[in-house]
């Protein structure tokens, strides 16, 4: 996607949605990645490992096999995330969490940091991203640490 367009789109979405969406961080897509972290405090991989298991946060295990042996029942909808940190840069991982539809409009993978443009969201989730900006950073740090097969 054109870089300037993406910034404009993210800003426009923020402005249009008003205060409810102040929870969505502005970001810039550059060549299939979001190179800049969404927050100032670096991601914490241990916290990220907790977050990806959290049922209330639509756990990644619904769809992905992951190197989390203590959890039963890993999904098989998406590819295994074992070794994913060796396949992608942190910026690429960030985009795959925040807005996978920017890469594949037809994807099954949900956008974890998006509030606008969604249809008939249940009241209690309305205008809330699944992950906060800091949670995205924690999960990116965790995924980046999965650099071994």
């Amino acid at each position: 996607m054109d870089k300037r367009l993406a910034i404009v789109a993210a800003l426009a979405a923020l402005l249009a949605a008003g205060p409810a969406l102040a929870q969505i961080a502005a970001y810039e897509i550059v060549e299939g990645a979001i190179p800049q972290p969404l927050t100032d405090s670096p991601g914490n991989p241990a916290r990220g490992r907790q977050i990806v298991r959290d049922l209330d946060k639509a756990t990644c295990l619904i769809c992905h096999p992951m190197p989390i042996p203590e959890e039963p029942n890993h999904g098989q909808i998406g590819p295994s995330l074992t070794g994913v940190g060796a396949r992608y840069t942190p910026g690429e991982l960030r985009l795959r969490l925040v807005d996978p539809k920017a890469l594949n409009p037809d994807t099954v993978m949900p956008s974890y940091h998006r509030g606008e443009d969604l249809y008939r969201v249940l009241d209690r989730f309305e205008n809330k991203p699944i992950y906060s900006a800091q949670e995205v950073e924690d999960v990116v740090a965790y995924l980046a640490s999965l650099d071994r097969q």
Partner: protein, 264 residues
């Protein structure tokens, strides 16, 4: 259908034309590549469904039979006083529903038709959607069509509702932003967490679902899938779910009615 009792009886006669299938002839669980949810269940769950003595849904069939014969309402009628032997008069009905109904100017499914019988002909109160009684009677009526291939009418006056249902099926919704087909067209057979995804067909409904420890209607399943996507569901019996039901029944055309199916 017109308001007179005669018309009901005439229509019941027409229904029994579908009784061409022998009572214990069960069509294949796979038809032209469309596979019943049955084939995605474990051996144990399948065995439970196929054993009439162990299938927990058979309680609903029995309860439904009692309600079929129960006189209720101001007119002093039961279902049986108009439709007589359900094994004959109801055979094939569930396979054709939902249908376009001229009087309503919209679709009716089996549940709403049963309630309409109660209010228009019996002078009785409608059952609440998803009540034990409505589930039991629907299960009993649908059970008479066991083995009959689903074949809903989607042309003529039903066509716009069919298109509405297709649009519903194909629309992404909820916080997870998924459409029905993302799971049921692309990933049948794959694990979604602890569940094996099926193709999302409705030929077994009402089903006994172990997760619910109870019977559930087609619309309850739609509601469950909608809320799983963190999408606002529609009311059971709503126009939206009736249209979706028509589309999904067509999607499973040819699959045999399996009511009461047993699911995980």
């Amino acid at each position: 259908m017109s308001g007179s009792r005669i018309a009901v009886i005439a229509a019941a006669g027409a229904f029994s034309a579908a009784a061409a299938f022998g009572a214990d002839e069960i069509a294949s669980y796979e038809v032209e590549g469309r596979r019943s949810g049955f084939l995605y269940m474990t051996e144990e769950t399948r065995a439970l469904q196929e054993d009439a003595f162990l299938n927990p849904g058979m309680f609903a069939v029995e309860e439904g039979e009692a309600l079929w014969n129960l006189v209720e309402g101001d007119e002093g009628e039961s279902c049986a006083s108009c439709h007589e032997d359900a094994a004959e008069t109801m055979r094939g009905v569930a396979a054709r529903y939902p249908v376009f109904d001229e009087k309503r100017g919209g679709l009716v499914n089996l549940e709403l038709r049963i309630n309409e019988m109660r209010t228009s002909y019996m002078g009785a109160e409608p059952y609440p959607y998803e009540s034990d009684e409505l589930l039991a009677l629907t299960t009993y009526v649908a059970n008479q069509s066991r083995g009959v291939p689903m074949a809903v009418e989607i042309d003529g006056p039903a066509a716009p509702f069919f298109e509405q249902g297709r649009t519903f099926y194909e629309t992404r919704r909820g916080q997870l932003d998924l459409a029905c087909g993302h799971c049921h067209d692309r990933h049948p057979g794959d694990m979604l967490r602890g569940d094996v995804l099926s193709e999302g067909h409705v030929n077994g409904f009402p089903i006994f679902r172990m997760l619910w420890s109870s019977m559930g209607s087609r619309h309850r399943m739609f509601e469950w899938c909608n809320t799983s996507l963190r999408a606002e569901p529609y009311p059971l019996g709503s126009e939206e779910y009736l249209a979706l039901e028509l589309y999904v029944a067509w999607r499973g055309r040819g699959l045999p009615i399996e009511t009461p199916a047993v699911r995980r």
